[in-house]
């Protein structure tokens, strides 16, 4: 297929074919095809792994990477989000990688920019590259998606990882079960095309993949869970309840982990865990996405340039 999209804002917007194309692209050996391109990383929320992953991915492809220090930037001086991006675009940025605490912040803005935009996590909305690296990891282990039972455990309500995973997995033909206490699973989730379970033992039965979400520790203060200890007891993944899943069940976690809360160390470091592979695959997926968004654009620009010359 020919990649046409300028931006990657979410998995909900893209087709099965596009997802598969990105996964195929991720297998290619990196070459410095983005020399002369400028990538800006704008992280309005703290991040270590996603930030570093994008940074390394862009550099391996030969692009120049600029991290924009938000804390000292004009954003703090009240500049609007769109103005910030337009200003950076005027300096020659070709692609923005943006993480922001607000759901959907990029959707009205991206069409107003020439530059490409990758959503590196927006509020509780989407985190498309995380989902893609999860899919890539699942594919490497299982070789397919159709018919797989994928259980996502934890704070679904606030999770952009969960949402991006759900839209993509359903499109790829997997069955998805969401599991957590009812305060952390939106009551409308049953209308998403997934199964909902409030009982981890039941949810795990027959699972091919378990994706364990990070529990934000502040949820306790918001009266969403009574205590971390209770959460760990009822919804923490450990060797005992993992044994209820299929023997070759794959364990994923987007990180960073709260060991002993949502996942036991035994499972996190165990033979079924693919957590470090996920991190490795993250770089490959981000290179694939950067390459697709930027090289398709440079082709477009070139052809436009040729057209202009031909007319002249």
């Amino acid at each position: 297929m020919i990649w046409k999209r300028k931006d990657l804002l979410g998995i909900e917007d893209i087709t099965q074919e596009e997802i598969e194309h990105i996964l195929a692209e991720a297998q290619k050996t990196p070459e410095p095809v983005l020399v002369g391109k400028s990538v800006a990383l704008l992280f309005f929320e703290p991040s270590t792994r996603t930030h570093t992953s994008f940074d390394l991915a862009a550099k391996r492809l030969g692009a120049t990477v600029t991290g924009v220090p938000i804390a000292q930037s004009s954003v703090q001086k009240g500049e609007s989000f769109l103005d910030t991006l337009k200003t950076l675009e005027a300096m020659g940025v070709n692609l923005f990688v943006v993480r922001h605490g607000e759901s959907g912040i990029l959707h009205p803005v991206a069409p107003q920019l020439q530059a490409s935009v990758i959503n590196a996590g927006d509020g509780a909305h989407e985190h498309p590259t995380q989902a893609l690296l999860d899919f890539y990891t699942i594919l490497q282990h299982k070789g397919k998606f159709k018919g797989l039972k994928v259980v996502i455990v934890g704070d679904i309500l606030h999770s952009r990882v969960a949402r991006s995973n759900v839209w993509g997995l359903l499109r790829l033909g997997a069955q998805v079960t969401l599991c957590g206490p009812a305060t952390l699973v939106p009551k409308e989730a049953s209308e998403w095309g997934v199964e909902v379970s409030y009982n981890l033992e039941k949810a795990l039965q027959g699972a091919d993949v378990i994706n364990v979400l990070r529990l934000q520790l502040e949820r306790q203060k918001e009266s969403l869970i009574p205590s971390l200890a209770e959460y760990a007891k009822l919804y923490g993944l450990d060797a005992q309840n993992l044994s209820l899943a299929k023997p070759d069940c794959l364990v994923l976690h987007p990180g960073p982990m709260n060991r002993g809360v949502e996942i036991s160390s035994e499972v996190a470091d165990g033979s079924q865990s693919a957590i470090l592979e996920q991190v490795k695959n993250g770089v490959a997926i981000r290179m694939a996405v950067l390459r697709l968004l930027l090289s398709s654009r440079s082709k477009n620009e070139e052809s436009r340039g040729r057209l202009k010359k031909a007319k002249a």
Binding site: E12, F81, E188
Partner: protein, 437 residues
């Protein structure tokens, strides 16, 4: 008696006046600021030098629209709207009177500030401005504001609109106290705890978008509480911007029991649903939020069966820079003065939910009655010459050119049918054929 000899003769228009149950073609003569005559074939008076004849065949002639829920933003937020710009928007929307909301900066909670609005309006407004004052000092929900002094200065109603009065004891006192003054409390019904940091209606759409929701129960629970308090106190409660089926039903039941409660809704609640939010466009963000199809149906039914008394706009201007902050950070509210009539005509009257007379009841006669404006809301001889002329068949696609200083309308690009073509306030033509006069 007239102050001057200025006369306007509106000829052959379809007179729609629910106050006398009138729906027929008649001539209407204005002299000075009053309606002088209303009958078939009024001859043009010969002795007057100043006579304007308005051929109104094919047009509807309504008692001027009264929008009882308008944010004029002055004082404090003059970049979003002013008394001058907001009333220009009203005039071009066929609205002849507005009730201004007091959640300005600072909030209008004293007689001095009521006087400020009235004096500003006297100088700069092109339509009638009736200010409402805060229920509580500083709109904090703690202590009663000086409602009596504000009433003396010219306040027409009391409200903490934009915020609920969360303390039931304070709301009880407000209903009692305003009862003794003879004014209604305009109630922003919302349980602030239940709404939390919500942004849009809680439902499958918000759950998919990962956006925090506001359940309909947040509105309905507070409506039920305040209906109970109105029952307890005998105070006059008017529920603002009803958005959902539960609240419509709560008001319906209360009215059946004889509680002194009235209610309004806004065009966006009968024209739009939560689905519009999937674009993450903050011009669809208002409070209460857009709800489901079934709520839209319930609101329409509430208007049809008279449960909902009035249609108001909750005109809430915000400058583009504020609305561009993203769906979650952007403030709540949409403008509405210039789209009130076309939306109501298109979605309710042309589609036969309301008859033309029922519509006029909602946008003029009822608001006049529940605000105690005895000389407005009808076209009887001797009443104020506040008149709106409407071309029910004019079709237009809405652009973002508004008289309002703000452009935060969710209806830009909509093709609508039925627009105001003339606005007369106190016998003076302020808007004619697409132009402010």
């Amino acid at each position: 008696m007239t102050k001057n000899g200025r006369k306007i003769l509106i000829k052959g228009g379809r007179i729609l006046d629910p106050s006398q149950n009138l729906d027929r073609a008649l001539d209407l003569l204005i002299e000075g600021d009053r309606i002088q005559d209303l009958k078939p074939n009024i001859p043009a008076p010969v002795k007057t030098t100043e006579l304007e004849v308005w051929e109104a065949k094919g047009l509807w002639v309504l008692p001027g629209l009264i929008d009882m829920h308008v944010h004029l933003r002055e004082p404090g937020r003059e970049t979003d709207e002013t008394i001058a710009s907001g009333t220009r928007a009203a005039a071009s929307g066929g609205v002849t009177s507005v009730v201004s909301m007091p959640n300005t900066e600072p909030p209008i909670d004293s007689a001095t500030l009521i006087r400020f609005v009235l004096e500003k309006a006297k100088k700069e407004a092109v339509v009638n401005v009736f200010p409402s004052g805060c229920v509580t000092k500083g709109q904090k929900g703690e202590e009663l504001a000086e409602m009596g002094l504000m009433a003396e200065a010219g306040a027409i109603a009391f409200t903490d609109d934009g915020k609920p009065v969360m303390n039931a004891q304070v709301m009880r006192r407000a209903l009692e106290y305003s009862k003794s003054l003879g004014f209604p409390v305009l109630d922003h019904c919302e349980d602030a705890h239940l709404s939390g940091q919500g942004v849009m209606n809680e439902g499958v759409v918000s759950s998919r978008m990962g956006v925090r929701g506001i359940p309909t129960e947040s509105e309905t629970l507070m409506a039920l509480r305040d209906i109970s308090l109105a029952e307890l106190t005998g105070g006059r409660l008017h529920i603002a911007h009803v958005s959902c089926a539960g609240t419509v039903e709560a008001v319906r039941q209360a009215k059946r029991r004889g509680v002194r409660v009235t209610a309004e809704t806004c065009p966006h609640y009968f024209a739009l649903t939560e689905e519009s939010l999937v674009s993450f466009n903050a011009n669809f963000k208002m409070n209460p939020p857009l709800r489901r199809d079934s709520d839209v149906e319930a609101v329409r039914e509430g208007l049809r069966d008279g449960t909902l008394d009035a249609i108001a706009t909750d005109h809430a201007p915000h400058s583009p820079s504020r609305k561009e902050m993203g769906l979650e950070a952007a403030p709540f509210g949409v403008i509405g003065l210039e789209t009130l009539l076309p939306l109501t005509l298109t979605t309710l009257v042309h589609s036969k939910v309301l008859t033309p007379l029922e519509m006029v009841r909602c946008v003029s006669t009822h608001p006049a009655k529940l605000l105690g404006l005895k000389m407005k809301g009808g076209l009887r001889v001797g009443m104020d010459a506040d008149i709106t002329l409407v071309d029910p068949n004019r079709e237009k696609i809405l652009t973002d050119r508004f008289e309002s200083k703000s452009k935060n309308s969710p209806f830009v690009g909509w093709k609508l049918k039925g627009f105001p073509v003339g606005t007369i306030v106190g016998g003076k033509v302020v808007y004619k054929d697409g132009m402010l006069v």
